[in-house]
């Protein structure tokens, strides 16, 4: 059981890869080297639906990274914590069972970590391509920096 988990949520389509690329960027940043082995893990998942709850099982602090569409400028990073996430994310997405539904379910069942943070990055390109749009790539360094500050507050 690794207590702190960083989970990149995505799919292989265009900017929806954001969560995966961000998780990779966190891994490359050397952040994990600041912690004893087994304390922090980084992983990716593809449209996990309620499987997200099992990925978080046993963790005390989870940071989710996901592509977001809210009408903001592409590349905008938003941070939501605990109940804010379900309050702001559309609860009845047409895509079966999404991240917001999974978290609401997890709260009902008492399966959420004590501290849950979601970083959403505004995306623009929904093509079937394998790359991120430049605006989205541009947001990655700042996102990694904010996750660093989150986990290493003393700097």
């Amino acid at each position: 059981m690794i207590p702190i988990r960083i989970i990149g949520i995505g799919s292989p389509f265009g900017d929806d890869r954001l969560g995966w690329e961000a998780a990779e960027a966190v891994r490359r940043s050397g952040l994990l080297g600041h912690f004893p082995q087994g304390l922090v893990s980084v992983q990716c998942c593809d449209r996990p639906a309620s499987g997200l709850l099992m990925l978080m099982e046993g963790a005390s602090h989870v940071i989710l990274i996901d592509a977001m569409r809210s009408g903001a400028v592409p590349g905008t990073v938003r941070r939501l914590q605990d109940e804010e996430i379900e309050m702001e994310a559309a609860l009845l997405s047409s895509h079966g069972f999404g991240v917001a539904e999974s978290l609401a379910l997890g709260r009902t069942l008492g399966m959420l970590p004590a501290r849950l943070v979601l970083y959403g990055v505004e995306v623009c390109n929904l093509d079937q391509c394998d790359t991120l749009a430049p605006e989205t790539v541009g947001a990655l360094p700042m996102l990694v920096e904010r996750i660093k500050e989150e986990l290493l507050p003393e700097g």
Binding site: G10, W20, E88, V99
Partner: protein, 433 residues
């Protein structure tokens, strides 16, 4: 005067289905005048994307078509390509492909039973509301779903996609110790799966028998997954390669997914069709659990689909345990493949029913033409037929709201996977003082 009213029911976005679909029903003078299941996801262009690609790229590419059943797309593709190249998978590859498929069935069916379908039968709007009153059942469902996912991860090259699959077998074999650790968890979950069957059997499911043709694979001595002939409850019994002589796909104006007919008639694919045609292929303990529900199979009641899914969860878990108990680290995780030109067919049992692929390759193994017939498009004509009959049987004098709910419940029996290409989190930004 309810019989004379004019009713138009529009469900602009169907909830609790995978993808984007809508339903329009017009009732005039007590009869359904028009009924359309509209699927308005942009048409999938995967068949075109595959043209010109190397055969080795196909398993990775087709896995992207569906976020819920990537394994199914990989399996139909590798079988089709191996049939062109004359590659014969080893017994180890054959067994491990079956284990992988068990994982996908468990994951997909557990999700559908608990989060999409069960709220209909227990009177809740969604699974979150249901979980307040049925926390143990939902947790059990999540555990079974998680174990399915753990099986898939055992073979995955990366965590996000099951890319461990290649033409000829797998890129790598799981370590013995990882298999043993997972096997312990799978064994421990067998009582959960058996209890799940009993629970679905105890739900208050509507009684609505209809006549329809079931279509599924059938194998000489196994419950079908990767291999078999295509059979129907009306006596069809053909090779996978003969599919196009009997099944016809065509476009309808109101849907971007093709409709499909067998000898010009709608037909059913998926768990209920599979179970109806393969009852004698279940192992003893699963048959016992099925009989204990008191429901008679083969069943003509589409509402029994949730029980069929539970049976398949129990079967898949038992089968994964059986196959992994004999696990040995192989000398090679794949057989050699020598590409050449030809035409090949693959048909496997995706969680939602038969998934048929056809490929033409050139002499270097490059894809010239690809054709993919997914289960949901095959079920579309049957869903529309079912809606007309079951709403009539339910009673068109019911309130609009009750008719809409019943229609949605009927559609969810088929677990339609309309498309799941993206999953963007939709946010409404509010300002807090």
């Amino acid at each position: 005067m309810a019989e004379n009213r004019e009713i138009n029911i529009h469900v602009p976005v169907l909830a609790r289905v995978e993808g984007e679909g809508a339903l329009d029903i017009a009732i005039r003078d007590g009869h359904i005048a028009d009924l359309k299941l509209r699927i308005y996801e942009p048409p999938r262009l995967f068949e075109k994307f595959l043209e010109g690609r190397d055969y080795n790229e196909v398993p990775d590419m087709v896995a992207r078509i569906c976020g819920i059943c990537p394994v199914a797309y990989q399996m139909s593709a590798v079988h089709a390509l191996e049939s062109i190249f004359g590659a014969q998978p080893s017994p180890w590859v054959r067994a491990m492909r079956r284990v992988l498929y068990c994982g996908e069935w468990m994951e997909s069916h557990s999700l559908h039973i608990h989060l999409l379908a069960a709220p209909d039968f227990l009177g809740y709007d969604n699974a979150i509301a249901m979980a307040r009153d049925y926390p143990d059942e939902v947790r059990r469902g999540l555990r079974l779903q998680g174990l399915g996912n753990a099986i898939i991860r055992l073979f995955g090259g990366r965590s996000v996609h099951p890319v461990g699959v290649r033409v000829g077998g797998f890129y790598r074999a799981p370590d013995q110790q990882d298999v043993s650790a997972l096997l312990d968890k799978l064994r421990a979950a067998l009582p959960d799966a058996e209890a799940l069957v009993a629970w679905t059997g105890s739900l208050n499911l509507p009684q609505d028998d209809q006549s329809f043709t079931s279509v599924a694979l059938r194998h000489p001595d196994e419950y079908p997954m990767n291999e078999g002939r295509i059979v129907s409850s009306a006596g069809l019994d053909i090779l996978v390669a003969e599919y196009e002589h009997h099944f016809r796909e065509f476009q309808v104006p109101h849907s971007t997914a093709l409709h499909s007919l067998l000898h010009d008639q709608p037909y059913l694919v998926g768990p209920l069709a599979r179970l109806n045609l393969n009852l004698d292929r279940l192992p003893e303990q699963v048959t016992r659990a099925l009989q204990a529900t008191g429901i008679a199979f083969p069943s003509r009641n589409m509402f029994h689909s949730i029980v069929a899914r539970a049976i398949e969860v129990y079967y898949a878990l038992s089968e994964a345990v059986r196959l992994l108990e004999g696990y040995e680290y192989p000398s090679a995780p794949c057989v050699p493949v020598v590409p050449h030109a030809g035409v090949g067919y693959g048909c496997t049992e995706a969680p939602r029913g038969i998934l048929w692929h056809r490929y033409e390759t050139d002499d270097t193994g490059r894809i010239m033409i690809a054709r993919i017939v997914p289960p949901t498009s095959q079920n579309q004509a049957r869903i529309e037929e079912d809606l007309r009959r079951s709403l009539d049987a339910f009673g068109l004098a019911n309130s609009d709201e009750d008719l809409r709910r019943r229609a949605e419940t009927v559609i969810r029996n088929y677990d339609p996977c309309i498309s799941c290409a993206t999953h963007f989190l939709k946010l409404t930004v509010r300002d807090y003082p």
